[in-house]
Symmetry: C2
């Protein structure tokens, strides 16, 4: 956590990944993020992976540093409280339907300068999830082994994560606009627009329209440059990429393949210097030359040779191996052991991705227990008396963690 | 494009994907993004896909709505001009090395409240690219067909895209902090921290430490819920997900498998209602029941049935098919035909991902030609006279597109 967005508050009504990460990033920068959930937890409260006590290790990491207000959102009184809270706070991030009880126009009736950032599936309001959005835009057709034509979904919920980060950006942009102009408004972020928009930004839409055909599947090879996975003599599979001239020259030098490359240039009538595209077009021959040399080395020796020559490479790991890497987790200042998690399990948790040299990086705060801050929020933000709060709790409209 | 960040300026010195998308998102929201490149184009200027004239369809989409200043950055005079520009503008996004001539502390000597957002590979300054970061954190081990143990890289540069969006968020957060406190600073965003931090946020780090082992590979099945790819009678492969109770009930109803599900519950001694985890644990039997029913339908009929019952599903597409989808491209207001691209090729290009009801969405602006705005920037931002500018151009320190 950092104190960067101190003084900024927002209400988060959300589930799963995209919307919670938007709130998480802001909370990790010091914003007061009030996560409102159904009493007892919403639909993502026990999302796997879970502990033996059914505490979600996903939920408790996606919701760190937030405060929890638990309401009975199945009752009009609970929904009215949430509407009132949103109007008081003035900033909302949600993935609830655009036409539901958290419709922006309805909320804005009581708070004209409200900023709402709404994460959606399709723009028309129909549901899309990461895996279906991914299938819809064709990345699944390009991912996976060359020999196997079946589409492959990436396991990383990449569209959710991108949408969450972009939502945090859009929230700050809209808040800035309000500060300068006094105007609020709704920002809608459909997952499918972010998926196809990203494909367009990367030139993929223009590419298929220009070439009139789909790109071929490349397995683990990188399009348009020299990059692929290789296996060393001792059986270590690693990724190798030479995406600029310096990296390419370093690769040729490290493996001592200058003569082999020159021979390919003569045979094919091309020049590889300063031409990533030519290297990619003749990758069959270049890959064969690399493969031959790589197979002469054990991984440790090859890694040293590559490092000395500025070659970008890295072994494939499992998550188990990754969490034991000092650079990634055990000695990475982004991580700190946390023992105050709702699950009771103690482990290294991530703080903000960003590192700000000179600013104090605080230990990652735990996720709240459901309803942990209900009383405080109803008092401080809503201005309710202890009698009123007690009544809401007695009636089961608000819930606490006690 | 939208007018949301009007009045905000930043200098972008960057290449490839992550850093350019940060500038792109801000430019699409109306910020004045000054992209500074080597005269003739930097290392990503001809990144594939390219046209027959070697114009990059990737570059011209990642750099829309920016202005271009071309300098000879191999000469001290060119680098000094860039340093001076950065100090004048006060905001910098870059993926150049932390210790190079754009080191934050050096720049801040002439502009104490400078905000720098720096995208890095590893935190120690060594290079990591999307494909190597992905291999390092273990997502490649989980991606791909179950029967094939080889790691699979996702083709989407997901870590680059996430880093770019988070960088845009971090830039606005840091600018906000400066507006409130007067303090600038550097924000460092290593790709590997974002990759392992995301794994932690999703509960993956806690999971392997809790279970003591790696998660098994699931192919196109979704962890912890009911979701997988299936094939209809007429051979259409589609993705199906039922991530909440409503979707699960809709699926059971749509396929008429209530009896089959009840039989599984009795046989296994479990209850599936309100228990995503139990459904996932017994997915072998549930998937078999779904598979059996799905194979009785042609895709068109099944899609209608699913839609009526609120089931989340979608066919796998190629990019060629995606660009012909009215909801994604041809009738999507996010897209507009652009004919003023540097490549000369006319095609639908994406504007901002965000849609703001009530605000005008302008047609996506084209990417600049290299040096297109050099004279204007040197005059308006740097305050140079036409004589001084002419001299810089004559000496080859600044370049124009003429």
């Amino acid at each position: 956590m950092y104190d960067i967005l101190t003084g900024l508050s927002l209400v988060e009504v959300s589930s799963f990944v995209a919307s919670p990460t938007a709130g998480l990033y802001m909370a990790q920068f010091g914003a007061d993020v009030i996560r409102v959930d159904q009493i007892g937890g919403g639909q993502d409260f026990h999302r796997w992976p879970v502990t033996r006590q059914n505490d979600s290790l996903s939920w408790e990491n996606l919701n760190r540093a937030k405060r929890s207000l638990a309401l009975d959102l199945t009752r009009p009184e609970g929904r009215d409280l949430l509407v009132e809270l949103t109007r008081k706070v003035g900033n909302l991030v949600t993935n609830l339907p655009a036409k539901g009880f958290l419709a922006h126009d309805r909320l804005a009736e009581g708070r004209p300068d409200l900023v709402t950032v709404r994460i959606m599936g399709w723009p028309d309001g129909s549901v899309a999830l990461d895996y279906t959005a991914n299938a819809a835009v064709g990345y699944t057709a390009l991912t996976g082994p060359v020999e196997d034509p079946r589409p492959v979904n990436h396991v990383l919920p990449a569209w959710d994560l991108l949408t969450g980060a972009y939502a945090a950006f859009a929230m700050l942009a809209a808040v800035r606009r309000r500060e300068l102009t006094g105007e609020g408004g709704e920002v809608r972020l459909p997952l499918t627009d972010i998926a196809i928009g990203s494909a367009a930004n990367l030139g993929r839409v223009a590419e298929v329209l220009y070439t009139g055909r789909d790109r071929e599947r490349l397995g683990n090879a990188v399009f348009g440059t020299i990059g692929r996975d290789f296996v060393t003599r001792d059986g270590v599979r690693f990724m190798l990429v030479a995406i600029n001239e310096r990296q390419w020259q370093g690769l040729v030098k490290a493996l001592g393949i200058a003569d082999a490359i020159a021979a390919i240039e003569i045979e094919r009538g091309v020049t590889f210097a300063d031409d990533d595209g030519a290297r990619f077009a003749h990758r069959d021959a270049i890959f064969a030359a690399i493969e031959h040399e790589v197979a002469q080395y054990d991984h440790a020796d090859l890694a040293t040779l590559f490092d000395v020559n500025g070659v970008v490479h890295g072994p494939y790991r499992t998550m188990m191996e990754a969490v034991e890497d000092p650079r990634l987790v055990t000695e990475n200042p982004v991580f700190a052991i946390t023992a105050d998690n709702p699950s009771g399990f103690a482990y290294p948790a991530a703080g903000a991705f960003a590192t700000l040299p000179g600013l104090e990086r605080m230990v990652p705060a735990p996720a709240p227990r459901n309803g942990q801050h209900s009383e405080a929020i109803l008092a401080d933000v809503m201005g309710l008396s202890s009698g009123e709060i007690g009544k809401l709790i007695d009636q089961g409209i608000a819930g606490t963690d006690l």
